[in-house]
């Protein structure tokens, strides 16, 4: 198969695999009441899954981030969270700072 056909198939497969979860979620939501226990459970599972993804992104990153050292990523993360708390939950400052700080540290 030609390379460009494989890419197009991969885009379709990726988009379908992603949309299934979103659409199933929309269908399930029609039967879930905000006050129910099952809603609370889904809420906890959603936050946990997200946190798990985040933990994995920092400890075992995919893509270019894998080219930096773990200890440097942890230092940047801790510094940015501290900055987030210090700036009374401003998100622009820690996010901009994180890119600059990490680029600085890997060249230090």
């Amino acid at each position: 198969m030609e390379n460009s056909q494989i890419i197009i198939l991969a885009i379709i497969a990726t988009s379908l695999a992603t949309f299934i979860s979103r659409f199933m979620g929309a269908l399930t939501s029609e039967k879930v009441s905000v006050k129910s226990k099952i809603f609370q459970w889904f809420n906890c599972v959603a936050y946990s899954t997200l946190a798990a993804l985040l933990g994995r992104m920092i400890i075992f990153p995919a893509g270019v981030l894998a080219g930096s050292e773990l200890i440097i990523r942890l230092v940047v993360m801790i510094a940015c969270v501290a900055l987030f708390v210090l700036t009374k939950k401003n998100l622009v400052i820690p996010t901009v700072f994180s890119a600059i700080f990490l680029s600085f540290l890997i060249n230090f």
Partner: protein, 234 residues
Amino acid sequence: MINSRVFFQGLISLKGSKSPAIPLGACFIALGALLKDAGFNIQQSAASSLFTYALPGQLVMAESLLLGASVINIFIAVWLVNFRLYPMTVSLFPLLNHKSQPKWKYYLSCHFLAVSSWLIAKDSYKNINKRHRIDFWIGIGIGTWSTAILMTVLGYLAADYLNKDMLIGLAIVNPVYFFCMMIGAMQNLSMSLAVILGTVLGPIIYLFSSEWALLFAGLIAGTIAFLFGEKNGK
């Protein structure tokens, strides 16, 4: 059909001190450059963000393609990594539900569900009248989605000018943003437990099974946090 005042209220959540535009821009610029590396042309790169719009899944796709994985394998790997969108949708859409709103709005706008838009919506839905919350969500979604597509194109075009250090710098922005937003969301015991346990269990289970890690870590940590919250009255 769509309440434009509420729609724009959602759309302008792109600016301000909680703006998701910077992290979204940073990570999709990095993705655009990566897709160019993986042999995509500019239309394919834009189409990937347009139709998938979920960064971890797109990363898995690009890496699998580089490794020469089959389309079926890509489908399964992406489904597993993006399955998180299912509990995320179920923990958001009931909050946006209103019987006066047509169902197609929900079925179409679920495509906008991604971590950044979800965190913004969870953070601000309370300020919006229940009747119009879905329009607010569509506003957030259109804003974040179009930012992602534009930035993918920009990253593709800028790929030759971005060196490795710059790309690594761009890639850290997104996890930092997510982490700060999650800490902002830790407002009660069960929520804090869900976040902390998930962060710890995610990488640990990844050591045993890279594909199933997110699913298992989310289920185990979330269920423990839920039960603990029930027992201690939150």
